[in-house]
């Protein structure tokens, strides 16, 4: 089968103007044919985004640097073609959807590209109708993009690119900032585009699980293509993926580690896993499983006093939106609770009551025995620290020291005490010795740590973390969560909002699921995660390994736990 080449990279190398170590891309050769759906994965800094920008000429026209080799897209030599001309051939969708919407009305947003290309008005009109259909935004005509949910915004951004009828669509981490429901919407569009045959689709993604639909999966590291093949083959390279810092699928990992199953035989999905499990004659050890449950119970008994007690909590925003409708909830000393639920479910509103940022419309919130209504955020903030989702929303100093010292300073500590606390907080997040560095020049993972340290320096009992792993790659996510686990072991109570299900299953002790301002499920992680179907109602999907164990009738939370419980062979 020889298809027309749509994209050709020949010996492409690029080094950014002020890049010191190595190159962003090094001698990359790649050919993509018309109609292919290619997925690109790799850790941060692997050169994925740079490669995407090379396709429409943002590199080297926009990001300057040293460029060699050649990129040919649909016959155009990209280096010699203006970006705005390339835009007709290839549409680029970015992770940050806020920065790629320019209009106050969804229809006009979709019209923007065709307007620039001087498409006749009637034609634009019909394209708008078509796009609302394609990206599934019916009923959103004439809405202001700013009033849409994250997932809808990203779909609109995709629609606004597709409306120029590009022959190639390239999406750079389109789902990273989205909740599970939002992610599904994007994958649906990808599948529709793929079915349309004449569109060539390239997606840069972290989500391993959704990669099976692609024609090809490319793994990158340090500016090079490491592996390029059929997704089902590439995904079986469990060890290679782990080495690269990409999360391997759990099912093949389990079979490889537990049974030493050969590469070609590795199952990928839970259902295949069950079949293989039975074929191998394995079973689950009841005693081992009971000991896991016993450990959960022992942990439960070891918790200390109630630190936060919420009763009948209701919150109605000034615009009349009822965000919380009667929540009863308590957190004891030493717990590690994960809050799940899609965006807009009310979970952030709920935790903002815990440190006094919001006051209940009805009901009450007691922190360490004190009603938050009768104290101030300054005082509650001593006990309950809050790490916001985006570290850039709180970092303002030009040295790490100043940033971490902000809280103790404002709380009147003397210099000696401040020094001690800064040192202690930085040690806790594994960033000792960075006092004089500039937080803004650090990676997102490091900035996230600094943000945690700057909350730790107030020595709170409880730490609230809002999506601490969003936007980090697998290795950074692991590091972040190991840090949170350590903080919990050292006596901090943790309340964490997240959408990343494997993080919850491997780290959280307890889980609360919020939907429409109500608490739908609450219990130990094992209990809650045993209910696949109920979780699905809140658009939550258990990690593969949990799902597989549920199908086998006993809930385990990680590959290691399943290995521990596996009997036979």
């Amino acid at each position: 089968m020889s298809k027309e080449n749509m994209i050709e990279l020949r010996n492409l190398s690029f080094q950014y103007k002020d890049q010191k170590d190595g190159k962003a891309l090094e001698k990359v050769n790649l050919t993509i044919s018309k109609g292919e759906f290619v997925l690109v994965m790799g850790p941060s800094g692997a050169g994925k985004s740079t490669m995407a920008k090379c396709l429409n000429g943002l590199v080297p026209h926009f990001n300057r640097g040293e460029y060699s080799g050649e990129v040919i897209v649909n016959g155009f030599v990209v280096k010699d073609t203006p970006v705005s001309t390339m835009a007709k051939e290839i549409g680029l969708v970015f992770q940050d959807f806020e920065s790629q919407l320019f209009s106050t009305n969804t229809k006009l947003e979709i019209a923007f590209g065709p307007e620039n290309f001087q498409v006749p008005r009637d034609e634009i009109h019909s394209r708008i109708l078509e796009m609302f259909d394609l990206v599934d935004l019916h009923g959103m005509e004439n809405r202001q993009p700013s009033t849409l949910s994250g997932g809808q915004k990203q779909r609109l951004a995709i629609g606004s690119i597709l409306s120029t009828y590009p022959k190639i669509v390239c999406m750079d981490e389109p789902t990273t900032d989205l909740d599970p429901l939002g992610k599904i919407g994007i994958f649906n569009i990808a599948n529709k585009l793929h079915a349309a045959e004449d569109v060539t689709l390239i997606i840069i993604e972290h989500e391993t699980e959704e990669s099976l639909n692609a024609d090809r999966l490319i793994l990158m590291q340090e500016g090079k293509i490491i592996l390029d093949g059929k997704p089902s083959d590439v995904l079986r390279e469990v060890e290679l993926m782990a080495d690269l810092g990409i999360m391997p699928l759990q099912i093949p990992k389990y079979f490889l580690e537990n049974f030493g199953t050969s590469k070609t035989e590795l199952p990928l999905m839970p259902e295949e896993g069950i079949a293989k499990f039975k074929e191998l004659g394995a079973s689950l050890d009841e005693q081992q499983h009971q000991s896991l449950i016993q450990m959960d119970m022992d942990r439960e008994k070891a918790y200390g006093d109630v630190l936060i007690e919420v009763s009948g909590l209701e919150h109605i925003y000034p615009n009349g939106n009822k965000a919380l409708a009667g929540i009863d909830f308590s957190v004891r000393d030493g717990e590690f609770v994960a809050l799940l639920g899609h965006n807009g479910s009310g979970k952030t509103t709920m935790v903002k009551h815990f440190n006094g940022l919001l006051m209940p419309t009805a009901g009450k919130v007691m922190v360490k025995g004190q009603n938050t209504k009768e104290t101030s955020i300054f005082e509650v903030g001593q006990h309950v620290g809050y790490v916001f989702q985006n570290p850039d929303h709180q970092i303002f100093s030009d040295t790490v020291y100043e940033e971490v010292a902000f809280s103790p300073k404002i709380r009147g500590c003397d210099q000696e005490e401040i020094d001690i606390r800064v040192k202690e907080a930085l040690a806790a997040v594994g960033m000792s010795g960075t006092e004089e560095e500039d937080p803004f020049s650090m990676t997102k993972g490091e900035r996230q740590r600094i943000a945690v340290a700057s909350v730790l320096s107030a020595r709170p009992d409880v730490i609230i973390l809002d999506e601490p792993t969003t936007g980090l790659d697998y290795r950074e996510q692991r590091q972040m969560m190991e840090l949170v686990k350590k903080l919990n072991r050292n006596g901090h109570t943790i309340i964490m909002i997240t959408h990343t299900m494997w993080v919850v299953s491997e780290y959280a002790h307890k889980v609360a699921v919020i939907k429409d301002g109500k608490m739908m499920m609450y219990g130990t992680t094992r209990e809650v995660f045993s209910h696949d179907e109920e979780l699905a109602k809140s658009f939550l999907k258990t990690p593969d390994i949990v799902h597989m164990s549920n199908l086998l009738g006993k809930t385990v939370l990680s590959v290691d736990e399943l290995k521990q419980c596996t009997k036979g062979v």
């Binding site: 970015f94 106050t104 929303h393």
Partner: protein, 250 residues
């Protein structure tokens, strides 16, 4: 305070050409500026309010009521203290001064209301297109429209940032003026950084959608001077003419 004023209704006012509405706004300024008579200003106020009522825009008055009230109160206070005049009521305060303050207060409030009505009934893209039609270069009009659109988003970001900093113990309400001013730094820096950080993606996304492909572009949105516009333009011009006649010729 919610700063995106546009109200998505379909009224006579909304359907008017943005250029017509700009002229009405300008006429309001001219008339308000020329007269110091309370009666004239009250008539002008009534006309402007009816105009706003036609577009169902007056619900936005409550969003800017604090500003309108402060401007009115300050006018009365400032002018009654400094105007002099007769008869003296208390210290430097005179009846004339108070009346003058009321006149000035109404004068400024009505100009702001006229601006509010314009923004409440005109889409950002219509403003941009209207500016292009009166020969403002497209890129300038785009920047202006984008800035208007960005304001509420920036305010929302700064609100999140202020929550993050208050969680860390920042208290904006204590200290003397200089200390308080300095407390805005933990808010201003992350706000500016967060907004400016998006510049590169913003510009890349623009070029990726063909911004700059050609000097000319299609306008999906269409504006045109229709019969209703002609009527309103005619009335605005008559009002300006009559005002000029009374103010300068009689």
């Amino acid at each position: 305070m919610e700063m995106f004023l546009y109200l998505d209704n379909d009224t006579f006012l909304h359907r008017l050409d943005p250029r017509t509405k700009m002229l009405v706004m300008l006429a309001t300024f001219v008339v308000a500026l020329m007269f110091y008579s309370l009666n004239t200003l009250l008539i002008l106020s009534a006309v402007v309010l009816i105009y706003g009522l036609v577009g169902k825009t007056l619900s936005n008055l409550k969003r800017i009521r604090f500003i309108l009230l402060m401007i009115f109160l300050f006018s009365v206070v400032l002018w009654s203290l400094t105007y002099g005049g007769e008869p003296k009521l208390l210290g430097p305060i005179s009846l004339e001064g108070i009346l003058y303050g009321i006149v000035i207060g109404i004068k400024f409030d009505i100009m702001i209301i006229a601006g509010m009505i314009f923004l409440s009934s005109t889409k950002v893209e219509e403003i941009s297109l209207g500016l292009v039609k009166i020969k403002v270069p497209y890129r300038g009009a785009f920047a202006f429209a984008t800035a208007i659109r960005m304001v509420p988003m920036i305010v929302a970001t700064s609100y999140t940032i202020s929550q993050a900093q208050r969680s860390r113990g920042l208290d904006l309400d204590s200290g003397n003026l200089v200390e308080r001013a300095k407390k805005y730094i933990p808010l201003l820096i992350p706000t500016i950084i967060s907004v400016i950080r998006g510049t590169n993606v913003f510009a890349m996304a623009l070029e990726s959608k063909g911004f700059g492909y050609s000097e000319d572009r299609t306008n999906y949105l269409q504006i045109s001077i229709k019969k209703g516009d002609l009527l309103v333009i005619f009335m605005a011009l008559v009002v300006i003419a009559i005002s000029v006649y009374y103010r300068f010729i009689i």
